[in-house]
């Protein structure tokens, strides 16, 4: 068993206006780094198109209709000041959905240990009825609800370490005790939500960080808040909203994380998945706007998912039991 990488060329074709931070070069940089030889053991698949039926579990039908109608035949259509659609955007958003649901199939069917979806546009700001923050469809929430509908997963967790709070995922999960949303994010910062007092029906765990906080505070927030809440939740599947804009070089965030922090977080989320749900974990790319910081962070995240690149050697606890028989 191994790690599956899902992506689709149309995710590069989606192109907000020149100068927009959420740009095609982000995914080009991610693809370039994932072609490095340390990723030779990755299995790679093109993401299938997402299905409308899966989208409407997380978004209202009239919202999906609005998005579909906003898709321009040429030029660009703004949905808000930050969020744009061009002729490729709808297909790209559906590819993100398809990546998430295919990822869920892959881990729930035990074809793969875990999955990374290298996709854009991101999704975690998309609320049930509102596109915002570069996001059209909330792929992480859609994947979670798909796991419940198609694979009988009863309890699904989304953990989000993007520098921005995933208001959309929180909105969609808000009153459902069997869906958990845990987030570390900078506060104050866009979109303004994510205070610790926002707890849903006890299923939301927000651990905001202050501008300038670094790896120590980030690891404390995960170790002290998110991971214990995740443990108490006993997930059947862990979905990660993997944004890398908490990187110290990111132009949109004010946190000071580095690659080692993202590797640490990934390994600890995997450990939680190992304990509760046989390691089943699907990670979806969210933000990350410094090309070098993004590519370097994705590289360590995916290597961690692959459980490292080298030979894993463990001290010899083997055979002790059988020797004793």
């Amino acid at each position: 068993m191994t790690t599956l990488l899902l992506t689709h060329p149309v995710c590069i074709a989606h192109e907000p206006p020149l100068g927009h931070p959420e740009r095609p070069d982000r995914l080009r940089a991610v693809n370039a780094v994932l072609n490095h030889e340390v990723f030779s053991a990755l299995e790679r698949e093109e993401a299938p198109p997402g299905r409308r039926d899966d989208v409407v579990r997380a978004h209202e039908d009239r919202y999906v209709e609005m998005i579909e109608k906003s898709s321009p035949e040429e030029g660009r259509e703004p949905l808000d000041a930050d969020t744009w659609m061009d002729p490729a955007s709808l297909e790209a958003a559906y590819a993100c959905v398809g990546a998430g649901t295919r990822g869920v199939d892959a881990v729930m069917g035990a074809e793969f240990d875990n999955v990374f979806c290298a996709v854009r546009p991101p999704g975690h700001h998309a609320e049930r009825n509102r596109a915002m923050g570069f996001c059209l469809f909330n792929s992480a929430a859609i994947a979670a609800l798909y796991a419940r509908a198609h694979h009988g997963a009863e309890r699904i967790a989304v953990v989000d370490f993007d520098v921005h709070h995933g208001n959309g995922t929180q909105d969609i999960f808000w009153s459902d005790r069997d869906l958990f949303y845990g987030s570390t994010h900078q506060m104050p910062l866009y979109p303004g939500t994510g205070a610790p007092s926002e707890t849903g029906v006890g299923n939301i765990c927000n651990a905001p960080l202050r501008p300038g906080d670094g790896g120590r505070e980030f690891r404390e927030a995960l170790r002290g808040r998110i991971l214990p809440a995740l443990k108490d939740f006993h997930p059947d599947l862990v979905i990660v909203s993997a944004g890398f804009d908490a990187h110290r070089d990111d132009p949109l965030g004010g946190l000071e994380l580095d690659e080692a922090d993202f590797a640490w977080a990934t390994l600890h989320l995997m450990e939680a998945a190992d304990r509760h749900c046989g390691g089943r974990l699907v990670s979806l790319l969210e933000g990350g706007y410094d090309l070098k910081g993004l590519a370097g962070s994705v590289a360590v995240h995916v290597q961690a998912l692959m459980r490292g690149t080298g030979e894993v050697t463990s001290p010899h606890i083997d055979d002790e039991v059988s020797d004793g028989e």
Binding site: V33, A295, G296, A299, R307, V312, V321, G324
Partner: protein, 84 residues
């Protein structure tokens, strides 16, 4: 076998706790003071503990390379990453 509560309890154990219990099982089996039925039961538990320990070690020991990158984000080389 297949005791779900038992399996879940093992999954919650820290590496140190699981290893300590595993060692005590090995010791008891080596001393030969347990009867056959019990020895089978604790052997099975030992196998599960061993698997749990191995899984934790596997995560802890992942060797990760930091890929050095050029300004545009394309890779240029690698160096070991110290996660801790």
């Amino acid at each position: 076998m297949g005791n779900e509560t038992d399996d879940q309890a093992i999954a919650q154990l820290s590496f140190e706790a699981a290893l300590a219990e595993l060692e005590s099982i090995v010791e008891r089996l080596e001393q030969g003071k347990v009867d056959l039925e019990e020895s089978i039961a604790i052997y099975e538990r030992g196998e599960k503990l061993k698997k749990h320990c191995e899984q934790l070690l596997k995560s802890a020991e992942a060797r990760i390379e930091k890929i050095t990158l050029k300004g545009d984000g394309t890779p240029s080389g690698t160096e070991p990453l110290d996660v801790e």
